[in-house]
Subunit: 261 residues, 2 copies
């Protein structure tokens, strides 16, 4: 048997690592805006040779944290760039539900101009990163973040798709003009979510119908708020392994459809 | 080099054909019931060594035909048995929409005992076929067939799952008892379907909630009736390539979840 040169052995090891989807690099993305500091987080598939599609993740009311960073790395393992947005700013890192309600409430209140602006700024930051194809971004969000990405869709931002995981669906400024919602909209909804009443679901559907969006809503029977979050454990906000698994499967298919890969 | 015996070469060829998913055998399944003749159709993956899960397909109002037989073969290429049910009987093969409305109307009317019985008989026939694991059957149906498989779920039949593609959701005998709907229920619904009014969707959801079924509903914005059928081309019943593709993707994931393969 011929000897294999060490350089070839190195190449084979590298290919093997890539094949297992483990090769992801990540880095914090600090930026300043209107005098405040923000801290995003970018995970990138290491094998990327050309500009790639990206997923922008908007955190729930507890803010950016390791849970979403891990999610970003898992998404990068699939071959997409993934960015955890920071719509709070580094001064705001809630330590409990009360602080979280206050932080999210500030941005959800009023006409949501500030929420839209901050989400849009995070999108710009992501689009400017090396290796990101700025025309191929899907924004996804969880609970509060779901609300945020729907606001991004209503705001006419340049997104290919938005996905709300158990987010609130109502808005003080719903879309009204036909064609104004450009991204494909996917809503993953727990049918028994006590924080998203049936009337809100109806109003949202009417809004999407009126503007003739390309939209899809999935209702998971029996699931409540936060159903994808393994840490959620209250009667109204609880992890549901089945709804979580189905949601992610539908999400991956959504990415493949939109990005063609 | 040692000679490869001819029998092994034959085995290798067979395995190769199987790897391409092309190896499907199919056969008509005639049966008699209550003095009438019925004609089902079974497609089987040729590589099947042990008993396999099966998909039972209930036809739309136009009855069993080559369109559903081709669907069965495609499902068998995925490794599942697939059976096109005949709930009409061979005497009833509609040639146009008027005849189809009459044939389907007969079974949809009244208390649907006859529809339930015929669907159940087809399930028995499928479960008795060689190579079918009788405990692993998902029933799927299209339009009229969607209505039929929901009736099968309400009837307490031994199914692992039911999937309605753009079916009507109402029933003269809705399920009322908690736990009485055993299969996992998936409803794939065109949000603009003029033949399935919003009130019917609401009533169905209420029914599933009441009996605490494991259910999921997907609404495709803008899609109307018959959205998976490439031949459907009227304002209220039209093919929608996007909703069709998404439906099938969700369906394959549903099969993998339930069958674990």
């Amino acid at each position: 048997m011929r000897r294999i040169p060490p350089s070839l052995i190195f190449c084979i090891s590298l290919l093997s690592a890539v094949a297992h989807g483990a090769s992801v690099t990540s880095a914090p993305v600090p930026f300043e805006w209107k005098g405040a500091d923000f801290l995003g987080y970018l995970a990138v598939p290491a094998e990327a040779a050309e500009a790639r599609p990206a997923i922008l993740i908007v955190h729930d009311w507890m803010g950016p944290r390791s849970y979403f960073e891990e999610m970003a790395r898992k998404i990068a393992e699939r071959g997409y760039n993934a960015y955890v947005a920071d719509v709070y700013g580094t001064e705001t890192r809630p330590g409990n539900a009360q602080e979280a309600a206050q932080a999210a409430g500030k941005l959800r209140g009023g006409d949501r101009s500030e929420l839209r602006a901050r989400a849009g700024k995070n999108l710009e930051i992501l689009q400017a990163q090396d290796g990101v194809d700025p025309s191929k971004v899907i924004a996804i969000g969880f609970c509060f973040g779901g609300t945020a990405v729907l606001e991004m869709a209503r705001d006419g931002l340049d997104l290919a798709g938005v996905v709300s995981f158990h987010g609130n669906l109502e808005s003080p400024r719903p879309a009204t003009r036909e064609g104004s919602v450009k991204p494909v909209v996917l809503v993953l909804h727990g049918d028994s979510d006590p924080y998203v009443p049936e009337g809100e679901v109806q109003d949202f559907q009417d809004e999407m119908r009126k503007v003739r969006a390309d939209w899809e809503m999935v209702k998971f029977g029996g699931a409540v708020h936060s159903f994808t979050d393994p840490a959620a454990d209250s009667p109204g906000a609880r992890y549901d392994a089945s709804a979580a698994r189905r949601s992610w499967a539908i999400f991956w298919d959504f990415c493949e459809e939109i990005f063609g890969r």
